[in-house]
Symmetry: C2
Subunit: 133 residues, 2 copies
Amino acid sequence: MSALSHLTPHQTTVFNLLKTLESEVSAQTLYAELRAQKHRLGLATVYRALKHLQLQGVVQARSLPNGEAVYSLVSEEKHYVTCVKCGTSVPLEHCPIDEQTMPQAVAPHFKIFYHTLEFFGLCSPCLEQETVT
Amino acid sequence: MSALSHLTPHQTTVFNLLKTLESEVSAQTLYAELRAQKHRLGLATVYRALKHLQLQGVVQARSLPNGEAVYSLVSEEKHYVTCVKCGTSVPLEHCPIDEQTMPQAVAPHFKIFYHTLEFFGLCSPCLEQETVT
DNA sequence: ACTAAAATGATAATCATTATCTTAATCACT
DNA sequence: AGTGATTAAGATAATGATTATCATTTTAGT
């Protein structure tokens, strides 16, 4: 990974908090957590910091079906199975992408930072509801 | 694919339009197109129809970074490379998922309808902007 | 210290989606 | 066909995350 361009104190704060978290979080949650830790920054700054870190290739984002985005470090290689009915999202342990074909699959003129892989379907409870109904 | 449960006329209309489209479309676009075709239905009905078709496993959804969702038939096996800066989304021709490991990768108690695979990074123009700046 | 550029805060604006609630259509059964 | 119950639909308000705006503060380089 190339060196990060200079980060402002606030950007560093956001980055550091992300490093301590095990799972993805929304910008709103990050903001609430930082405020709870007595950091004085605005919500817009959190969004801007996340955008900046994304452009640096160190933070990744995933859009949930409910419209909110969740963020995590790029190093967190996690994929998910998501229920299209209730929205439950379960992480996968292993990435089933063929390592050989992956590099060729991406367009030649893109610099790739990360990828997301998600399976969608029905979780057991929702599946039962559907078949019963 | 199991038989679809009964579809209402409006649900059928939405489904049929999706069948004629080559690329993914948002609910808003579907609504505008249907209205342009003199169909009399409400926006909420389009959203409800899409939700219903999703639960049937025949329509898939993908959330874009800007927060809107785009829909397409499940049969459209397309994956994308998306620029984290400008949002440009380019389809891949080939799915690089290892067919062998895929079934084992999904959680045992999920009924899987489809999957999405996306690569994120910077497209050429945006990459140049970043390195220049 | 000084000026230009970048970052920040506060808040308004945007916009897709969902909820609500009333009305209309459909269905099962007699 | 009639009736009551269930489901679908329409219209629109409400929600909520994200972005835009703009005035102010901070930073970097000279």
